[in-house]
Symmetry: C2
Subunit: 138 residues, 2 copies
């Protein structure tokens, strides 16, 4: 399951996508719309900005706005950013690799091999679904 962080990030991105015309959107408005803690959401938006998905404007009249096209924001990226690995095991993670302590030899581990396949197929799904798809479903 996705963490609340990632889920909230998706809601925020969706909100920003829907309100693109308005220029900037307040954290406050997104938080209120979904009943999310303002401060918690603030941290999430900050991460999304640092990762290059959002722009922000400080000071009075400021706020956040999308700086990427919705079609260029795949679920895989958002999940990796906020939740970490997409792979089911650290030993097959492309971006967060770590050996598994209980596994003596990865090269001959059937679990490792199968999980690498699962990762590849899962990635195909999550790289193909984008914010655009979410927006089209609203």
């Amino acid at each position: 399951m996705l963490s609340k962080k990632t889920k909230y990030a998706l809601h925020a991105l969706t909100y920003l996508g829907k309100h693109k015309a308005e220029g900037t959107v307040l954290i406050h408005d997104i938080a209120e719309e979904h009943g999310i803690s303002h401060k918690f959401l603030e941290n999430i938006l900050l991460e999304l900005r640092k990762a290059g998905y959002l722009g922000s404007k400080k000071g009075k009249g400021g706020g956040y706005y999308l700086i990427k096209e919705p079609k260029d924001i795949p679920l895989s990226r958002v999940i990796r950013l906020l939740d970490g690995p997409i792979a089911l095991l650290p030993c097959v993670s492309l971006n967060y690799y770590e050996p598994c302590a209980e596994c003596k030899n990865e090269a001959i581990c059937g679990i490792n091999k199968v999980m690498a396949q699962v990762r590849d197929e899962t990635l195909k799904i999550l790289e193909n679904k984008t914010l655009q798809d979410i927006l089209e479903g609203e």
Copy 2:
């Protein structure tokens, strides 16, 4: 990512699959092979038995053994049993459904729709990969 519980369960099932010929296998042996806590693994094997994957024999000379064919143990089942939902959000979980607090109306939520598709495609993968596939990779 899978919890250690699920990961250990997969190691245990694999071990049992490999040692099928020996009749029964001791918790102790599996735990030792993978450096897993005996007591932690004990709880996991208990769950696998209650779920109908394993049989056990008590007393001296006892132990655990597979009672399902490896090809009839899909990853999806093991993951659901020990980790819970496969869906990325509670609002699209088939087996552990719960509404999402921050979502006013599921029927018009684009995130919900996309995640339901992701769930279906993910399920296809995890229902197709079985213990058999793991064993063939060892």
